[in-house]
Amino acid sequence: MNAPPAHRSLRERFAIGASLLPPVALLLLASRWGWVGIPARVCLLAMPGVIGLGMGFPEVFAPWYRGFSRVRSWLGGRLVFGLLLGIHGLVVIPMGFFMRVLGQRPIDGARSGSSWVRSKGYGSLRDPF
């Protein structure tokens, strides 16, 4: 494998530091609900500390960060999938239903007759539509 890059950008360091926040946040919640004995205030105060830790020693936390990113993008993908399924159910299906009721067929499914459509011209090259 390649040697790790000597310099990491500030942005990348910050991302690594920020990836340490969720565990601390979980700890915070746990203490709120009285599951652990650490006072919530300590957790809150520790937050800037762990960001600083991640930013200061990015190489140490890089493996954690990679795993975290993988989980996050997997979760993100599931979330988006669910959101879009919801949009389909709440928007696309009703709209499709109304269009059908109104006799609007977006797809021309006729079986016979000419299918030539006279062209309207190509339109401006500047427009992406």
Binding site: V80, L84, I87, V91
Partner: protein
């Protein structure tokens, strides 16, 4: 994003397809809040349709 919305508005006006506006608006707003990776998950036989 604003230039994209402007393009869409002009497009819908030209084609008289205002009924598409709510769907497009929702999707663009979603696009603005969620960062998408653009790796394709669509099977190749669907390409002609999408």
């Amino acid at each position: 994003m604003w230039s994209l919305l402007r393009d869409f508005a002009r497009f819908l006006g030209r084609e008289k397809k205002w009924w598409l506006a709510p769907l497009i608006l929702i999707l663009i707003l979603l696009g603005a809040v969620v960062v998408f990776s653009s790796s394709s998950a669509v099977a190749p036989f669907l390409y002609p349709f999408l």
